[in-house]
Symmetry: C2
Subunit: 308 residues, 2 copies
């Protein structure tokens, strides 16, 4: 095989109480990487679309480029790869844009070389994330593997797939307002009051229990974050009214997706999700912000080959 097209999904990191340890892949827009084998070693980025010209074509500084180069190394491949990267979600939106590009690029390289072990590509994806926003796996792991992933530990990297309640619907509302990950990370407290940690811990444990009990409602009610959400909420105009609108329309929980500004809400049916999404959109609109609504469900496949 000489060329391949690979899609990787958007992802919701943290999910409320799971800062840096939980992430969920969701349906809807994701990134596409076209990869072509080259005789010359190394990675070339031939084209990037959908980024308004803002991403670098330097493969050493682009997450797709870094992930592809590391994947070639892990596989021990001869030759190199040329990439075309198609961004289908806004940058700096809290939907794991850089992670989707990395996961798609790494998996594309793997397919070109008949390499089938996704988990073995995780170091490539982590290296890519580290090059732009720090060493964290809560977006790249679900973008690559699909579903909901728990990062049990980082040294060494230990991942677990967690079952997902069948009725889970995740409403994602992305205001047209960019929040650079670096800025969103800068407000995260480096020291956490013990009492807040206990609140998050109780809800994190309850969220995992809800997953195994197939209970979307209890999953939503476990979306509580006393630590990072309060710090980041101030960076998202109208966050508290958007959250109130979601809960007022019956969402079981609502918080910030990853570093934001996308806000996510948990429902247990698509009609409820549509209603909640509209209320959230209207709340952003009342604050003068347009937003895009995606009523999503979990994406169980993660990075995968697509036609064309």
């Amino acid at each position: 095989m000489d060329s391949v097209r690979v899609f990787a999904p958007a992802t919701v990191a943290n999910l409320g109480p799971g800062f840096d340890v939980l992430g969920l892949a969701v349906t809807g827009p994701g990134d596409v990487v076209e990869a072509r084998r080259t005789d010359a070693p190394g990675v070339v980025i031939e084209e990037i679309t959908g980024d308004d010209g803002r991403l670098t074509h330097d493969p050493a500084k682009n997450t797709a480029g870094v992930a592809a180069a590391e994947a070639l190394r892990i596989i021990g491949a001869q030759g190199g790869v040329a990439l075309r990267l198609h961004k289908n979600m806004p940058l700096g939106s809290g939907l794991g844009s850089s992670a989707a590009s990395a996961a798609a690029a790494a998996w594309a390289v793997a397919i070109l070389h008949q390499f089938e072990d996704k988990s073995a590509l995780m170091p490539a994806c982590l290296a890519a994330e580290a090059s732009v926003s720090g060493y964290h796996a809560d977006n790249v792991a679900p973008a690559l593997l699909g579903g909901m992933v728990l990062i049990k530990g980082y040294r060494p990297l230990q991942l677990q797939t967690i079952p997902i309640p069948k009725k889970l619907v995740i409403v994602l509302v992305t205001p047209r307002f960019e929040l650079p990950t670096a800025k969103a990370r800068s407000v995260v407290p480096q020291s956490v009051p013990l009492c807040d940690m206990i609140i998050n811990n109780g809800h994190l444990a309850a969220m995992i229990a809800a997953c195994f009990r197939d209970d979307a409602i209890e999953f939503g009610k476990a979306v509580v974050d006393a630590i990072v959400e309060p710090a980041r909420a101030a960076l998202i105009p109208a966050f508290s009214t958007v959250k109130s609108a979601a809960l007022g329309q019956g969402a079981f929980g609502c918080s910030i997706s990853g570093a934001g500004p996308t806000v996510f809400a948990v429902c247990d049916s698509r009609p409820a999700g549509e209603r909640v999404g509209e209320a959230m959109r209207a709340a952003f609109s009342a604050a003068g912000l347009e937003s895009a609504v995606n009523v999503a469900v979990p994406d169980m496949a993660g990075a995968r080959r697509i036609a064309g």
Copy 2:
């Protein structure tokens, strides 16, 4: 019914990563409360055994007395109760001694009044704990309800029972050395580095997943605490060598039970537990401390009536 005898088990709080949110009831020594209805309202403590005369008979300052008084109030009972309290575990050992007395007393009062809702007695047990060591439920909840209990939240109190891996064996080694809960609480950091919280969170989530997957080995490997264990370890002579001895004999995890000084280890069979317990006892002994070993399994019943 005019009198009743009730047993309540020892409990392991925290379980590594679950500070203040997880507790497990275990077989072995527990406390016994004999309760007798009285015409006069209020609580009288007629006798306490097994405490070397150290616990107060003042019902307003003894956890059994406080729990009994609150239980009478919750039930709306006429008259009062006279208690005899038999302590079968050492005070200040990290095995939930005060919680066992509270749970036994509250449940004894309930039985005397044909009141069958254990959960409704939780506020009585919490009030009792608060009177001696702070408002926390991780010992009283499992002492009352049995099994493993998650405290999802405190305001309002939200409890969940978590399933337990069938092969779980908990080795408890209690050195003859008292560590007052107040002292053990005083060294707990009130502010936690974010990076340590992430370590604990990953392991807490993995522990809940292991419970639902019926995996005693993964449960044990999730016994990791980067926050409280390092602070309390310094208060327990030879803790690090005792832990090394446990892991060296094949325990899957090892940490401090509650506020200590009891050290617990996780195994998946009784023979392994016996071997691990002996190694831990020998390690304490080498440091000049005698210790008592209890190779336990989960106690699923919690507070219950016993004969006699």
